[in-house]
């Protein structure tokens, strides 16, 4: 048993750390720490910095412009990014479409598209979910009908994250209604400026604009935009979903959140007692800390398994379940810590009108926003089904 990283891995962590300390713009990391929405420009600015370093596409092989990292190095990188409040780059091009093209795309597609993902020329968004099909992708209904050299798409996609910043979208569409529902699905790339596409914002519970609906009406897409074979999109879809799950436990984020709670608890006085000395808050924090420390190790164990080629879907489901529980518990604790001061919408107050630290002022909306963690990327109920299927396999 050995929990230590190798010397090389520790050196890598130092390198990442000093890169983040010098290169990550302060104004951006402060927005991230305070749970504020980032603009398109913020994100692209950070992407450009990472791109210059060659670190933008953690999961890509070197030949396509990735850094060629091991699973452990990827882990270290994303952990340090979380601890330094670096923005998460949108995963759709870098962690989803990129790996899909590398695996299933033709040479032309790789040559044309991958570099534009790396340098931020293209901002991809996803067209997976539909109003009637959340976790149940096989039931999707958006149709693409072949018409000469084009597909004609009609239908609706939803939960399209940051679609408002995107210029391109990859879609799962139904190209056949024969056979099992999974069998008639294809994977298509679509320019968002194609006529017939309308994107509408979905305002979320916290008031933010993070996701969208996308409507397709007779949208004509060249058949060269098909990835892989027609009606074989299901295989691609599943491959993509496993890639969606990198850094699924979110240990870095949770560590950051716990730190932030401790800082706040040392500052807040509530009814004559510093919150860090309030036994109920302190005990709750201690118990979550124990769970987080366990999660950190669970994550490393699964990482070691992955390195040894043994990690499976069940393990990532376990990490998703406990990771979201711990992160949501921390959001709950942090929001609670503010007491009555959690209620005002902070955007309407100036910094010197606030009675709480700026980084805490958006605690409540961030808590509500984080309820999504147990819903998206396969809800926690779906994750339990996956694990149960494995446990009770005959």
């Amino acid at each position: 048993m050995d929990l230590e990283f190798t010397g090389q891995e520790r050196a890598f962590r130092e390198e990442v750390r000093s890169f983040l300390q010098t290169e990550l713009p302060r104004d951006i990391s402060e927005k991230v720490a305070a749970g504020k929405e980032l603009g398109r420009e913020d994100i692209l600015r950070w992407q450009a910095i990472l791109h210059a370093k060659g670190w933008v596409a953690a999961t890509w092989p070197k030949e396509y412009g990735g850094p060629g990292w091991s699973a452990v190095e990827r882990h270290i990188f994303s952990e340090e990014c979380a601890l330094h409040s670096a923005p998460r780059l949108p995963a759709f091009g870098l962690n989803m479409l990129g790996p899909v093209l590398i695996r299933f795309g033709n040479e032309q597609q790789k040559r044309d598209i991958l570099p534009r993902i790396l340098d931020g020329s293209d901002w991809w968004c996803q067209g997976y979910s539909e109003p009637g099909a959340g976790s149940d992708l096989a039931s999707l209904r958006t149709r693409a009908v072949r018409d000469g050299d084009h597909y004609v798409i009609n239908g609706q996609k939803t939960w399209t994250t940051l679609g408002q910043y995107a210029n391109r979208i990859f879609c799962l569409v139904r190209t056949s209604t024969e056979g099992k529902p999974q069998e008639g699905i294809s994977f298509l790339l679509v320019d968002l400026d194609t006529p017939g596409i309308e994107m509408r914002p979905i305002k979320l519970i916290d008031g933010g604009h993070e996701v969208n609906e996308v409507f397709f009406t007779d949208v004509r897409v060249p058949v060269t935009n098909l990835v892989g074979q027609e009606n074989q999109g299901w295989t691609i879809a599943k491959y993509l979903l496993t890639h969606e799950r990198t850094n699924i436990a979110g240990v870095g984020f949770a560590t950051k959140d716990l730190e932030r709670f401790r800082r706040l608890a040392r500052e807040i006085i509530r009814d004559g007692q510093r919150l860090s000395e309030n036994p109920l808050y302190a005990a709750r924090a201690a118990e979550i800390e124990a769970e987080l420390e366990a999660l950190r190790i669970t994550n490393l164990r699964m990482l070691a398994n992955a390195r040894d080629g043994a990690a499976g879907g069940v393990e990532s489901s376990l990490l998703k379940l406990k990771g979201t529980q711990v992160r949501q518990a921390l959001q709950d604790l942090y929001r609670s810590a503010l007491g009555a001061q959690a209620a005002p919408i902070a955007d309407e107050l100036s910094e010197n009108e606030l009675t709480v630290p700026v980084e805490a002022a958006r605690a409540a909306p961030v808590y509500f926003n984080h309820r999504k963690l147990s819903i998206f990327g396969g809800s926690n109920e779906i994750q339990r089904n996956i694990v149960a299927k494995e446990l009770f396999r005959e």
Binding site: L204, G207, A340, A346, R371, I375
Partner: protein, 364 residues
């Protein structure tokens, strides 16, 4: 023993429900609740005309109600309808004006002409009046207040703001109550709708309503806590109902979500807790005005703080993405249920208050 609503209460809650259904759909609500003055004046007038405000004080005091039961019946309906009007602040302020014999002002508040609010707690005092720091000193005919008040519910637009402040004399200090007219506010909408404000007192001139009324203020706050509990019960009931409807309608993997046993069992647990929350609110109503008041109210606020969040989180989860959207009313109910725990002391504050206060039987 009778747990049915009286005929009067049935009438009151029925007319309140019909009024909100007719005049307060979710779009109207959200428009008013998040834009200054963070409420809908025409709805407020309507509520006043219905007698909702008058029901908070007794006939002797110029109203037509005044029991904890009256308050709970009304707030449960407000919760069902997700009403973000400044009813809590009004309840707190009005009760104190009435208790201190200011019938001139009571009448104006009941008619809807004036609005009252209570500035009791402070950035460092969440639930315990002994920890208040704001102070008052006499000057000429009046008083000067200093300190900072926070979480003044319904303050934006209120013309009568009551401020609790400490008066220090030779023998120690008392908690006095002061009236200020339209003070400067640091105002904002709340996450879950409705107005809230801080007030930097900063030598503000004030009229003294009472030099020593800590007990009355605590009573008003306990009634406010009961109101919040009843509101939560109403909100829970509605939220569970629409969650069940959603599960019935929504299909996944070719089956109605309502047919999944794991989801069914979770709904059942929510219903069990909702019944418990209704019961503890009834207990707090019954204990109001008795020696068991403070402890029972704290039980209620603790249980509802815990279960309100749990039911809200479960409801969002059971809805999936839809439950996360602003457009879906359920998300606002969920927000309200979570944020109620932040008002007038949270689950932990009230657990600690229960611990401080011995059970009556043992104290005796």
């Amino acid at each position: 023993m009778d747990f049915n609503l009286s005929e009067d209460h049935q009438l009151l809650s029925g007319s309140l429900r019909r009024f909100l259904a007719a005049n307060y759909d979710i779009e109207t609500r959200n428009r008013a609740a998040f834009t200054a003055p963070f409420h809908a004046p025409e709805v407020w007038s309507g509520l006043a005309e219905l007698g909702v405000i008058g029901a908070f004080v007794s006939e002797e005091q110029g109203g037509f109600g005044g029991t904890a039961d009256d308050v709970a019946v009304i707030f449960e309906e407000l919760g069902q309808g997700l009403c973000a009007e400044p009813m809590l602040g009004t309840l707190l302020g009005l009760r104190l004006l009435a208790a201190l014999g200011r019938s001139d002002l009571v009448g104006r508040v009941i008619s809807g002409e004036s609005r009252a609010a209570l500035a009791a707690f402070e950035p460092q005092a969440a639930c315990d009046l002994f920890c208040l720091d704001a102070s008052a000193r006499p000057e000429g005919d009046g008083w000067r207040l200093s300190g900072r008040k926070s979480a003044v519910y319904g303050a934006p637009g209120a013309d009568l703001v009551l401020v609790a402040a400490r008066i220090t004399g030779a023998d120690g200090s008392t908690l006095g109550l002061f009236l200020v007219n339209q003070p400067d506010l640091i105002a904002a909408p709340m996450i879950d709708g409705g107005g809230i404000a801080d007030i930097v007192l900063d030598g503000l001139w004030a009229e003294c309503l009472s030099p020593d009324c800590g007990g009355l203020i605590e009573d008003a706050l306990d009634l406010g806590r009961i109101a919040l509990c009843a509101e939560a019960v109403g909100a829970m009931s509605h939220l569970i109902e629409i969650t069940i409807d959603y599960l019935r309608q929504r299909k996944q993997f070719g089956r109605s979500l309502a047919s999944f046993q794991a989801l069914q069992h979770r709904i059942v647990d929510m219903v069990v807790e909702r019944e418990q929350c209704r019961s503890i609110t009834i207990a707090a109503v019954a204990a109001y005005g008795t020696p068991a008041q403070a402890r029972t109210v704290s039980m209620a606020k603790n249980l509802i703080g815990r279960m309100g969040s749990k039911i809200a989180e479960e409801a969002i989860q059971l809805h999936g993405g839809i439950g996360m959207t602003w457009e879906y009313p359920g998300s606002h109910y969920a927000k309200r249920l979570v944020m109620i725990d932040h008002q007038l002391g949270d689950r932990n504050d009230h657990a600690l208050r229960m611990i401080r206060l011995q059970p009556i039987a043992e104290a005796a």
